[in-house]
């Protein structure tokens, strides 16, 4: 029993230590951001890597999430006889929850792992050490552009996801089930406020910061072995997913 309590204590202190390290790492990144923005080329390259290359998976998933919302929403609303609210239901759930959260999870899986593996491999193949020898700050040269790329890309990916999702819901609701096009959109416009759109984008941005930070942190601090890089990649996805969902709850509670 005492050993169990001791393990619990160790686990708790490890958790707080990691949280503290990640926070400190994040603050370092933020402090280096202004000088890194002077050289935009690496940042643009990373926006391409994390954003433009994630576009296909984001759009495909957005379309299917929207279409499934259309099917499920219609089925549910049909039971209470108010199918015309499908547009509103789909728009609000996409804007407030599904859009930012699913985008963040996909982003962690598609872009976060790539970032972590890339930086981890640089660490494992001593590229980062070589940079330090050449008096090139690897934080500034490697880590910050990747972090900023992710931060810039995420809100844009979220907006794209939601827009495509709305198209998918519209496809099912209007074309397939035959809800009137005009009433579908006017219902949406009548209920959705600008605040709802802002909530979605704020969440997207917050998840972008969290997921990018976790990815670059795990990669930068990976154990420099093949196994270590693999573990860093796995941990990126797991931690990103958990943090996204916890953060989602906190942000929702805050903005409600």
């Amino acid at each position: 029993m005492p050993s169990l309590i001791r393990e619990l204590g160790v686990a708790a202190s490890n958790f707080f230590e990691r949280a503290g390290r990640i926070t400190r790492f994040g603050l370092q990144l933020v402090a280096l951001t202004p000088t890194s923005l002077l050289r935009v080329r690496p940042v643009i390259e990373q926006v391409y890597n994390t954003g433009a290359l994630s576009l296909v998976i984001i759009m495909t998933c957005g379309l299917f999430v929207g279409m499934v919302l259309g099917l499920q929403g219609y089925e549910m609303l049909n039971r209470v006889g108010s199918e015309e609210y499908l547009g509103t239901a789909a728009a609000l759930s996409l804007l407030k929850e599904l859009g930012p959260v699913v985008t963040a999870l996909l982003f962690a899986g598609r872009a976060g792992t790539a970032l972590a593996a890339e930086i981890g491999l640089m660490r494992a193949t001593d590229q980062i050490a070589a940079m330090e020898i050449m008096a090139v700050d690897p934080m500034r040269r490697v880590v910050v552009p990747r972090f900023l790329g992710g931060v810039i890309a995420m809100p844009l990916l979220t907006a794209t996801f939601i827009a495509i999702g709305m198209f998918g819901a519209q496809l099912i609701g209007v074309q397939f089930f035959g809800i009137d096009q005009g009433s579908f959109w006017s219902q949406i416009r009548g209920t959705v406020e600008l605040d709802d759109v802002a909530e979605g984008l704020i969440k997207g941005a917050a998840f972008g910061v969290a997921c990018s930070l976790i990815a670059v942190y795990e990669g930068y601090n990976a154990v420099p072995t093949a196994e270590g890089v693999g573990r860093a990649t796995t941990r990126t996805v797991v931690v990103s997913a958990v943090v996204t969902l916890v953060l989602d709850y906190l942000l929702t509670a805050l903005m409600l």
Partner: protein, 168 residues
């Protein structure tokens, strides 16, 4: 040079797409209308009871949206709700004795302000007050009024006739 150019172009396209999506969400999904030339004017209307009217609700004439409810305040001195309406500048020939009433769209729909034209030769100007107003109909009041009326009517009605009729 080539790969860098394709990267630039696809990054640019991605950013454009993202902003297009944001623009779509802001303009097409919400009820905000962003008109470039914002010639509009304000009207003020005081209501005893606004029911469930909210800022952003449409102001319509003959069913056409001509403006929005900009602001709702409570005046402690008048004991009234002061509603500020913002009407599109295109509609600048509304008689200044038009009346504003709070109506409900559909059975469960949101509430809006309906303006019905009066017969005055003069038109509303910026900052004018709508003098003729009709409050929101509160369902509970309506029901209680109805119940109250039927309760008071009961004794007036020919009681001997009514009693057997209900028993049949």
């Amino acid at each position: 040079m080539r790969p860098s150019r394709t990267i630039d172009i696809s990054t640019g396209l991605f950013v454009l797409l993202g902003f297009a999506a944001i623009l779509f969400l802001v303009t097409q999904i919400t009820n905000r209308e962003f008109t470039l030339k914002s010639t509009s004017y304000r009207l003020r209307a005081d209501f005893e009871n606004i029911g469930g009217l909210k800022a952003g609700a449409p102001v319509s004439m003959a069913g056409v949206t001509i403006g929005r409810v900009e602001d709702i305040q409570y005046d402690q001195k008048l004991y009234k709700a002061v509603v500020t309406l913002r009407v599109d500048g295109r509609y600048d020939e509304i008689p200044n004795d038009s009346d504003a009433s709070i109506l409900t769209s559909g059975l469960l729909g949101g509430q809006y302000i309906g303006l019905s034209p009066g017969g005055s030769e003069e038109f509303f100007k910026d900052g004018d007050q709508v003098t003729f107003v009709q409050d929101a109909v509160v369902l509970e009041n309506l029901i209680s009024k109805y119940l109250f009326n039927t309760a008071t009517k009961q004794p007036d009605a020919p009681a001997p006739d009514a009693a057997p009729a209900t028993q049949e």
